[in-house]
Symmetry: C2
Amino acid sequence: MNQTYTISDLAREFDVTPRTIRYYEAEGLISPSRDGQRRIYTARDRARLSLVLRGKRLGFSLAEAKEIIDLYSAPQGEAFQLRTLLDKLDAKRALLEDKRRDLDAAISNMDRYAERCRERLRDLEDVNAEAAE
Amino acid sequence: MNQTYTISDLAREFDVTPRTIRYYEAEGLISPSRDGQRRIYTARDRARLSLVLRGKRLGFSLAEAKEIIDLYSAPQGEAFQLRTLLDKLDAKRALLEDKRRDLDAAISNMDRYAERCRERLRDLEDVNAEAAE
DNA sequence: TCACTAGTTTACGTTAACGTAAACGTCAAA
DNA sequence: TTTGACGTTTACGTTAACGTAAACTAGTGA
């Protein structure tokens, strides 16, 4: 439950360098605690790192990733805070949906093209079969 | 049908600078023809630019975008070429599917979190309603 | 003819996101 | 006790993807 990780634990698991993880800390994306001078990462730190890397894979800058991830750590004391949080979540969700539209278009585009290639390949093979008779 | 575009036509339409479009040409992503020294962009050039920008939005580097886009202009003469093309398309398609999994996870993650926020907000408002009686 | 608008090349500048190297601390095994 | 293995800070280096500025060309309306 209260498992912790060293910097190289996380570096290995997520296939990044320790430098990268320290850089994310300098940019305010992760805030590990310390044992003396050594960093100690909790499950929460690990989860945040995971979110950062996923954000990067989806084409977000570190600043954009931070904006999104920070929403998950936002205070939720009063109703007003909750409502503005929900508004912000909605805005970020719209960005993700935009990406999904792009992605779906890219995939179906590629699928249509591949299908045309397969048709053309069948035609070619038919011709070869005839020639072999 | 045979419509052409100037560099600033495309810059306006896709909300990038002419510099960006020239840079993509220098990187081999677009190859407009020329009228004297001025660039002339065809519908095909426009389509390639559109693909580049979509690739960027999805987190691909220009080099990765080029790899994908170039598949759409690959020669399809012989059956062997078509088969290797289909293999490459399949590999790129897998990359897109990876991104879709990431994206779907990000969205449903956010949805679950937002739902918890809404529940919490309802609870708060119930308490306020009781206190108002 | 002149000014304007839009295009061009060339080249140096900039920013995000790290890489890399140096110099140092610390702890366990040999 | 020394030698790795791992961690740290500091600081300069690097790359992709453009931005920016200068100096030039070519059509075009007043």
